[in-house]
Amino acid sequence: MLVLAIETSTPQTTVALGTEQGVLGSVLLSWAKGHSEIVIPAVRTLLDWTEVDLRRVAGVAVGLGPGLFTGLRVGVSTARALAQVLRVPIVGVPSLDVLAFAARHSRYRIAAVTDAKRGEVFYAFYRPVPGGVARESDYLVGRPERLVAELEATREETLLTGGGALLYRRVLEEAAPAVEFGSVSSAFPLAVSLLELSLPRFYREETSRPEAVVPYYVRKSDAEINWARAARSA
């Protein structure tokens, strides 16, 4: 089954094409300008260079975040549009799961940590299990100090993987007893990981209708705008 995977929840834009037999190819740009200008050309380049006709794609996988707003919007809407036009199933996978999956051979517990901007990180905890990772927490957002507090509270050796961990390395290093850091090459969720992670879901038919696939926002504001203070007048 040929699957196209799209992951744009971080500064990185990456797409991959492959089957259960392996990866046919992947395009990856870590700090390029706008996701909106890159995703479609990246897909087209990938199809051209692997000499695959778009109509052979039998499923679309997309990273749902949490992550950066504009990238997520672009990635998710591109994936939805492709699935709709090709009339193929779509699988959405949380991007922190994708990041943790790449670190599944860790001996330690894994924390997938990405930069949430505004001095915060998105993170979730995972345990390596045969063939993958099992998530052990909600998807969270908070200052790195809060992550340090959680690490210290559990006192368990943890591999911190992702760009958020590298960005706040100085702060996170203070967490006792021991934290280990992932490498820069696994700083962002990879489309090849997303591809691998999504394939079993296509086979188990754990797919969605395109319109049901929406970005995963961890930051939610239920509050109303304070019009009383600002005195919005007629």
């Binding site: 707003f69 504009t70 509050a223 705008i225 203070r229 600002a230 919005r232």
Partner: protein, 164 residues
């Protein structure tokens, strides 16, 4: 140096644009300017002047009905109007966080209504219409600690419009 408030007077929309240009020349990547003032007070005119100073060549129009407009000058310029919104989440759904981190300058009309989403440091401009003519009173102040070090420069640039 305390960051304002500066009391300023503009006598026409063109003068408000010039004042905006003087302010725009003092802005840097990451700055946010909150604008408050009734319809017709000159919020858009001020942003037009500031955007011109920031190298935006295309015409700048009110974002009231499209909620956000983005321009490319020397820096990205984001012009947001939250007037028609009711919930903070709707502001976030415009890509608010990405705008704050977009390496540009954000102008937000009615920014004082979305306090929890504002950065620790920003510039606040309120425009009032004292009479029926074209005269406008403006108050400019820096919020948070970040503007005090830059305030002398802002005050210098805006000095021509100082209220007597």
């Amino acid at each position: 140096m305390p960051a304002g408030p500066l009391s300023l007077v503009s006598r026409s929309p063109e003068e408000t644009r010039e004042l905006g240009a003087a302010l725009g020349a003092a802005l840097r990547p990451g700055d946010l300017v909150s604008l408050t003032g009734d319809l017709g007070a000159g919020k858009t005119a001020l942003v037009q002047g500031a955007a011109r100073a920031l190298g935006v060549e295309e015409p700048v129009a009110s974002p009231t009905f499209v909620l956000v407009r983005e321009y490319r000058g020397r820096l990205p310029v984001y012009h947001v109007d939250v007037y028609r919104l009711d919930r903070l989440q709707e502001v976030r759904d415009l890509g608010w966080e990405d705008m704050l981190d977009g390496g540009g300058v954000v102008f937000v009309e009615w920014g004082s209504a979305i306090g929890p989403l504002l950065p620790p440091t920003y510039l606040e401009v309120s425009l009032t219409v004292p009479d029926a003519d074209e005269t406008r009173h403006l108050e400019v102040r820096g919020r948070g600690a970040g503007w005090s070090g830059r305030w002398e420069q802002v005050a210098d640039r805006l000095q021509p419009w100082g209220a007597a």
